[in-house]
């Protein structure tokens, strides 16, 4: 397999993702984290929150776009009508 910058970056990023989850478990295990709400103690909560939050944000917004996204110059066209 040809080693490219893209491949190296992907590998690096996957290591970062996995590493952050492993470090998160370690920090939880050694009681090095301090949270206020019970749901924050769910392992990898912020990883899930980031991934699911971003996905939901885009998908819900796209759903809203069916009504809200209009052609450019929308008000101008409505005024002429």
């Amino acid at each position: 397999m040809k080693i490219t910058w893209k491949l190296l970056f992907n590998l690096y990023y996957i290591i970062c993702l996995g590493g952050s989850v492993v470090i998160g478990f370690g920090l939880l295990f050694f009681h090095m984290l301090d949270y206020h709400f019970s749901f924050q103690w769910i392992p990898a909560f912020f990883a899930l929150f980031g991934f699911i939050g971003c996905t939901l944000l885009i998908l819900i917004a796209k759903g809203m776009g069916h009504w809200l996204a209009q052609s450019e110059g929308y008000y101008e066209k409505r005024r002429r009508r």
Partner: protein, 622 residues
């Protein structure tokens, strides 16, 4: 001791000298020196040259001016007003660098007067002075929109002016009610509750909420800022909304509804930003979202909340100006900042891209950037008062902020997988990595430095805050949590990358209610309401004309009225003489008012006496 010099008045008056300086270089130097003069005054104020500033909420009182029965006070100097004043002049200096090459003198005048009046508003102690400066801000900012010179900017300017005149009227009306109730014109922390007795305070709060662009009163911001002149929009990002936040902190901290409005606003704006195709409109939605954090902090109202709102306002002015400058450099150089028309600019504008990314990381809240050190304070305030939903909304807004400003906007403007920008934009670019004007890069560079400086050493910011604070932002929990959040946001965005590409559409916002159904109101006013008005007008005029006619000779008029009735009766009884009766009546009407009878002195006195008697009876009865 030297009396205080008002930095706002110095800057405001200084603005009007700009057109009189003929030499271009001298004009540019003077333009840069104006905010420096304000900064020197503020440094001297902090140093105690004009008297020491007592701990918040006490203040140093200067510039008291008697006005009618009241005393206006233009100089309430306390820690809260100083936080805002410092960032206003520092940001103005950077913005002046950015706008240095603009040749329209009056655009400089409008921008500088806008900065000066914003300083006037934060130092005002009474409602009338505050109202006065808010109105000047509205008018000067409207000119900044109009200086774009397009048809769209004319409309957007009028809509901006309408919103802000309305908010000003709300503040004034509420202020007058406050004065009626309390007898005081002082702008203090207002009472809050539910009931008609608080109606005046609801109006003032509404005025401030409109200024702070809180959902659902936010649409003016994305509308006007994206249509403003390239450099004028940069000024607008900082002053109007942050003055609104300042006023809310001062007048309505701890009002719970603001906490919810702020948290919803922080998230709602991000949904709108996903659909956005225009770089400046996208940044506008991020202003609204970040203002949501501040309004939520104000609503939380604890020391953490207020400090969080004030510190976030300060940091936000710096990084958001930087973000807006980044998008504006593309508009300036490429002539558009629409995602569907750009891309591949990274080779031709790499410095503005890198500087923009500093702003992008700051607004997202990356550790070691200034957004992090202020945002965690507000988010922590929601944790400390045990509001998990507010916490979720604010933390969720962090995800969306990173998605748009850290990924969507830079990817669409500078990259999009293209090695070269579209041909029409390429034709405008030189074969050089520096296509952005140097003065713009200097303004952005200073702001980027401030983003990093405050992010690495936030204690200089914390020392300025109104309430004393001991806060260490870089804890393991906070840094780890936020980094994990960002690390996992990126893959989600990458998987859905086709959904965040620019599509040439216009996103309809809450202003639709005013602009489409609102037109029906105008049509209703123009047609049925005006027709009804004309009908009433015609009837009233006829009645008035009859009264005038009657008063020319009341005795004869009564007799004619009596004859009209008797003629009709006689005409029915004796039909053969009908024409004769009617001719007699016509003759009588023709001769009206005939000879006006002259009353003798005695009769006149009798009438006067009767009137006096009538007054006496009315007086005795009432």
């Amino acid at each position: 001791m030297v009396d205080w010099i008002h930095p706002g008045i110095v800057i405001f008056l200084g603005a009007f000298l700009i057109p009189f300086i003929k030499n271009r270089r001298a004009k540019q130097v003077y333009f840069l020196l104006i905010p420096i003069a304000g900064l020197i005054i503020l440094i001297l104020t902090t140093a105690g040259v004009f008297g020491s500033i007592p701990p918040y909420p006490d203040a140093l009182h200067k510039w008291r001016i008697p006005f009618l029965r009241y005393t206006l006070e233009l100089g309430r100097i306390d820690k809260l007003s100083m936080v805002f004043a410092y960032v206003y002049v520092i940001a103005a200096f950077c913005m002046n660098w950015f706008a240095l090459r603009v040749k329209r003198d009056w655009e400089h005048v409008a921008a500088t007067a806008y900065v000066g009046s914003a300083l006037g508003a934060v130092f005002a102690r009474d409602i009338f002075t505050l109202y006065f400066f808010l109105e000047i801000m509205s008018v000067s900012a409207t000119f900044l929109v109009w200086f774009r010179g397009t048809k769209e900017s004319r409309g957007a300017g009028f809509r901006y002016l309408f919103w802000h005149l309305f908010s000003g009227v709300c503040v004034l009306a509420g202020g007058v009610m406050h004065v009626q109730t309390t007898g005081s014109i002082e702008f203090v922390h207002f009472p809050w509750g539910w009931g008609w007795e608080y109606f005046g305070y609801y109006l003032i709060c509404l005025g401030f909420v409109i200024n702070a662009a809180c959902t659902p009163f936010h649409s003016w911001l994305s509308d006007a800022y994206s249509e403003a002149s390239v450099t004028g929009a940069i000024y607008m990002t900082a002053y109007t909304t942050k003055t609104g936040i300042y006023c809310l902190i001062r007048g309505f901290s701890g009002v719970e509804i603001l906490m919810w409005m702020g948290a919803i606003s922080a998230v709602f704006a991000l949904f709108m930003a996903v659909l956005e195709n225009d770089g400046r409109r996208l940044c506008s939605y991020h202003i609204i979202s970040q203002l949501g954090y501040m309004v939520a902090g104000v609503g939380i109202g604890t020391y953490w909340g207020i400090n969080g709102a004030a510190s976030h306002a300060l940091c936000h002015i710096i990084y958001n100006a930087l973000l807006y400058m980044g998008a504006s450099t593309v508009l300036e150089v490429a002539g558009t900042c629409k995602f569907s028309e750009t891309g591949g600019l990274y080779k031709y504008m790499p410095i503005s891209w890198v500087l923009y990314m500093v702003g992008g990381f700051s607004i997202s809240g990356f550790p070691l950037f200034n957004g992090f050190v202020s945002k965690v304070m507000t988010v922590e305030a929601s944790e400390l008062i045990h509001q998990p939903l507010v916490y979720i909304l604010l933390e969720g807004a962090t995800v969306g902020t990173f998605l748009h400003t850290g990924l969507k906007l830079p990817w669409n403007l500078w990259w999009q997988g293209r090695k070269e920008p579209p041909a029409d934009i390429r034709a405008k670019l030189r074969n050089s990595p520096i296509n952005t004007p140097i003065n713009m890069l200097i303004g952005m560079g200073i702001l980027a430095f401030l983003c990093l400086f405050l992010g690495i050493y936030p204690y200089i910011l914390y020392d300025m805050l109104p309430h004393p604070v001991y806060f260490v932002p870089f804890t393991t929990t906070r840094v780890f949590s936020i980094m994990q959040l960002f690390l996992f946001t990126f893959p989600a965005a990458w998987l859905l990358r086709t959904s965040i590409r620019g599509i040439p559409t216009y996103t309809v916002d809450t202003d639709w209610f005013g602009r489409i159904p609102g037109r029906a109101l105008i049509v209703f006013c123009e047609r049925p309401l005006m027709a009804f008005g004309a009908f009433v007008d015609q009837k009233v005029l006829r009645i008035a004309a009859s009264v005038v006619l009657f008063s020319r000779n009341p005795l004869v008029a009564i007799r004619i009225a009596k004859d009209v009735v008797s003629t009709k009766v006689k005409a029915r009884v004796a039909r053969s003489h009908r024409e004769e009766f009617e001719r007699g009546l016509e003759e009588e009407i023709r001769r009206y008012p005939a000879e006006i009878p002259r009353l003798s002195l005695g009769a006149s006195l009798l009438i006067v006496f009767l009137f006096f008697l009538l007054y006496l009876i009315m007086y005795l009865i009432t």
